[in-house]
Amino acid sequence: MKKNVRIVINGAEHRAEVEPRLLLVHFLREVAGLTGTHIGCETSLCGACTVLLDGMAVKSCTVLAVQADGRSITTIEGLAASENLHPIQEAFWEEHGLQCGYCTPGMILCAHDLLQQNASPSEQEIRDGIGGNLCRCTGYQHIVNAVKAASRKMNQRQRAAARAAD
């Protein structure tokens, strides 16, 4: 029995009739055509499929599309406001926080959640905060460096914005 869902993805509304067993990750990739959300393990263990559900990082292979009905999703394609990159994206690029890049969208969105909760995480807090995301290539050190750099960038920009507002 199919169900109607209405899911806002990166600000745009998507309506579809879906099977109740359809996973959110498949909805994003196959129905909405957003393939930046990757599939690594299908069982909630690798984090490649991480997206933001109402701002909170979730593994979209462990959420049903029907559970996201009426809610708002941010995928990697929608993280940056405009053509530019989000500071976390910039930092991953500059700090070389990726090789094959398959884990990268999930890492970045998980880091986003962490930095929302803790704007200046310590090295250990970063490792714990995004510790549920796996990478087979990079050795993680540069991912940690990237999150640190992103935190600095975001804090600086926030201070600059605050000064501008004064």
């Binding site: 990757h38 599939i39 393990c41 299908e42 069982t43 940056a80 994206q89 890049g101």
Partner: protein, 787 residues
């Protein structure tokens, strides 16, 4: 004519610097397309029914119910009734459906009956006398395994001559092997090998003992030694566990033209493999890949499931069908690193000089055995006797895993040497240093690297004789290992065009595994042409471009950097000839720098790049730079040292790595940023296989017990210690030219960590991974021995 060499250090604008990867923006923004992401309209989804038994014969297949289901567009039998299946998870039937759940429903509706046959998944030490007698003629699997595991040519040739083969050698087959870079000598031996068809159906012993190899006089060597150490060491079967699983999408734009998007380490090598299986000309196969989510040696073939995907598409009227492996199928079937274990006896004089080595090694590469680890590793000990026994099991097929056979050889050798150093009462760094002259041509490099690594580790402050005597349950220790690798650049073709409007493009059939191949090509081209990297358009990853070697064995950087350098220099030769009259100079007096073409001795006499290119007239100039080719741009053979500092909780058996050091040479570095990144990645991959990874099979059912990422554990963010990477970039190394780097730094971590654990707790944990149960078992044995 240009001289084919690298620019002098002072003239390099990009080569050797830390350059951010050019594909960073598409990858961090989710716009990079992997094969998994290929998503055209009307895409059908494949699924595969897999054999649940480790060894069985298919007796019947009934697909009628599945075929009738709504939404099913094609059903393809992959292995017919009568076929013997040799590992759990092998492909039996494939289906294509309008969506994945429907395909899954269809799989459940297929009835397959099997005759279950006895299996063996154990690679435990062969019983005495096992595998004596003739090994029997080589099967196709035997050959594939030997070639895939870098068994030396001489050994393959002698096996072919002595044993013959069970299969008919066809022209297609030899052509295919040639395409993979198999040497003519091996191909000739294969053609000449005696054909024994009758042997194909004969039961074979699971043990295949290879000929013993002797050098010097081992008996005399051991007799003359003052200290001898004996032990058993090894590493189990592990998997590749790439984050993007294997798989492809296939479609038929016309009835005899195939288009595939395949997750592969070798784009140019795919058409021939599809063509043979599907009986169409290789020229009718187009393969494309933008990005790949990891390979590590496991992705060179379309595989059974890839061919099936193409067949499904054909049956479905040519519509695109995509099938990517599920994580469990991936871990069960898509590649296993062969295990290797050995009983070792090694001896030295009282001053630490190595005199003799003896090893009886064994290991499994699945159904066809495997190559043997190069023992003793790195050190050419003067007197040696060694013998290897390949164990045939139903473990699943072996595939090359980053630095095939070397990590295993490092564990066996470097742990044995560390135990010997302990018996000699020597600091392992001094002991290794004492014997460096036995490392052959790489000795001068090791002599620089070893003290440097020791310094970066703080070895002097940290090392203590075996067994941390400090209070409390947490014991700390350090360990080291050394390694070597070839890494000569593969065949490569770089088609470079300069257009009259000043634009430049490059086309190559190569692929970027994430190592930064795109970036490296652009660095070389831009540095050579004196224009910015973003002024060059680079196209790779398609069989429409000139063929390039597969990315395996650390061969890509040497291949693509040298062909690109040659192409750029050839292009400049032609460009200078056109520009020289305008500058009233000789072509040989010109150079391309800072976006201009100018007179070397008088840089103010110049044309902008655009003005210079306008002199080409109406036609672009196009050249193809090749590797191999003129000039000494590349080389082979690196060293490398790895060190580990660990803490072991002797109450829980948990090992924690505190610090890792990698000191690595790779000749001339093209991009320091991506080169270092290879080492960082290798260190964590090393920690992963040292502490966690093992393909665990149930001896009773023959099935894999951990086919998921929960129990097939990879090292995560919480496992990273302090990592120190040092690349050797001195003139001694740079003058050798470019050498590959992907494999070497992953070789030493396992042995270095094992040695650090032994240093910490005072006893050897013989086998990787160093799991708590193994650590506790070793401690218990030590206690018993002490009591």
């Amino acid at each position: 004519m240009a001289e084919y060499k690298w620019p002098a250090p002072a003239e390099r604008t990009l080569i050797g610097k830390r350059i951010s990867r050019v594909d960073g923006a598409v990858k961090v923004s989710g716009h990079a397309k992997y094969s998994y992401d290929y998503n055209p309209k009307g895409l059908l989804f494949g699924k595969v029914l897999r054999c649940p038994h480790a060894h069985a014969r298919v007796t019947s297949i009934d697909t009628s119910a599945a075929e009738k289901m709504a939404g099913i567009k094609a059903v393809q039998i992959v292995q017919k009734p009568g076929t013997e299946v040799l590992w759990q998870g092998d492909d039996i039937v494939a289906v294509a459906a309008v969506d994945e759940p429907t395909a899954e429903d269809a799989i459940r509706a297929i009835q397959v009956k099997y005759e279950v046959l006895p299996h063996n998944v154990s690679d435990a030490e062969p019983p005495a006398g096992a595998g004596e007698g003739p090994a029997g003629p080589m099967t196709e699997d035997d050959l594939e395994n030997a070639l895939g595991n870098q068994v030396p040519d001489a050994q393959v040739i002698s096996d072919l001559q002595k044993r013959g083969v069970t299969f008919q050698v066809t022209d297609d087959m030899t052509k295919e092997l040639k395409g993979y870079g198999v040497s003519d000598a091996v191909i000739n031996a294969l053609k000449a090998a005696a054909y024994h068809p009758e042997a194909a159906s004969q039961p074979r012993s699971p043990y295949q003992k290879m000929a013993a190899q002797t050098q010097g006089d081992p008996d005399k060597g051991f007799a003359s030694a003052e200290v001898t150490s004996e032990g058993v060491y090894g590493a189990p079967v592990i998997t590749h566990c790439c984050l993007e699983t294997h798989g492809s999408a296939a479609e038929w734009p016309s009835s005899d033209h195939l288009l595939v998007h395949c997750s592969t380490q070798g784009v140019s090598g795919l058409p021939d493999q599809y063509a043979q299986a599907l009986k169409i000309p290789a020229g009718n196969v187009r393969a494309h890949q933008d990005h790949i989510g990891g390979g590590f040696g496991s992705k060179f073939s379309p595989d059974r499931w890839g061919i099936a995907t193409a067949q499904l598409s054909k049956s479905a009227g040519g519509k695109p069908v995509k099938y990517m492996l599920e994580r469990d199928s991936e871990l069960m079937t898509a590649g296993a690193r062969p295990s290797a274990y050995a009983r070792v006896k090694v001896a030295a004089k009282g001053d630490g000089t190595l005199v003799a080595w003896q090893s009886d090694s064994w290991g499994t590469g699945g159904p066809a055995g495997a190559g043997s680890p190069p023992l003793p590793y790195v050190f050419e000990i003067p007197n040696q006797r060694k013998q290897h026994t390949a164990v045939r099991t139903n473990q699943g097929p072996a595939r090359a895993w980053r630095a095939p056979n070397h990590p295993q050889a490092a564990v066996i050798t470097m742990c044995a040497l560390d135990d010997l150093a302990h018996k000699l009462n020597m600091d392992p760094v001094e002991f290794f240093a004492k014997n460096l002259d036995m490392t052959g041509p790489r000795a001068p490099i090791y002599k620089e690297e070893l003290p440097l690594a020791a310094e970066l580790m703080g070895w002097k402050q940290k090392w203590h004789p075996r067994g941390d005597k400090s209070e409390g349950p947490i014991k700390r220790g350090v360990g080291l290992s050394m390694h070597t690798w070839g890494g000569r650049g593969h065949a490569s073709n770089c088609l470079l065009s300069i257009h009259p409007d000043g634009s430049v493009d490059i086309k190559m059939g190569s692929q970027d595994l994430g190592t930064g191949t795109r970036t490296a090509i652009l660095i070389v081209a831009a540095d050579s042409l004196g224009i910015p990297m973003n002024a060059i358009t680079l196209n790779i990853g398609d069989t429409m471009y000139p063929p390039d070697g597969g990315s395996g064995g650390s061969t890509t950087i040497g291949g693509v950097s040298s062909s690109t350098r040659r192409a750029a220099l050839m292009a400049l030769d032609q460009l200078f000839a056109k520009v020289a009259p305008a500058l009233k100079a000789q072509p040989a007096d010109l150079e391309a720098r800072d976006g201009t073409v100018r007179v070397k001795s008088e840089p103010s006499r110049s044309l902008s790049w655009k003005q210079a290119c306008a002199k080409l007239g109406a036609m672009p100039l196009s050249v193809t730079g090749k590797n191999p080719g003129p000039g000494n741009l590349i080389n082979s053979g690196v060293g490398g040292v790895g060190m580990a500092d660990v803490s072991v909780d002797t109450e829980t058996g948990i090992v924690k790595v505190n610090k890792m050091v990698a000191v690595q040479d790779c000749g001339l570095v093209i991009n320091l940023k991506t080169a270092e990144s290879q080492c960082y990645g290798a260190l964590i991959m090393g920690i992963s296989y040292a502490l966690y990874e093992e393909k665990v099979l149930d001896p009773v059912t023959g099935r894999m017990l951990n086919p998921n990422m929960e129990f097939y554990r990879l090292a995560g963010l919480r496992d990273i210690p302090e990592l120190m990477v040092h690349m050797m970039t001195d003139p001694l190394n740079e003058n050798r030219g470019v050498i590959g780097l992907g494999e070497p730094p992953v070789i030493s971590p396992g042995a270095a960590i094992s040695n650090a654990v032994a240093n910490a707790i005072g006893v050897r944990v013989p086998f990787l991974p160093l799991t708590p149960d193994r650590v506790l078992a070793a401690l218990e044995q030590q206690q018993k021995a002490g009591a």
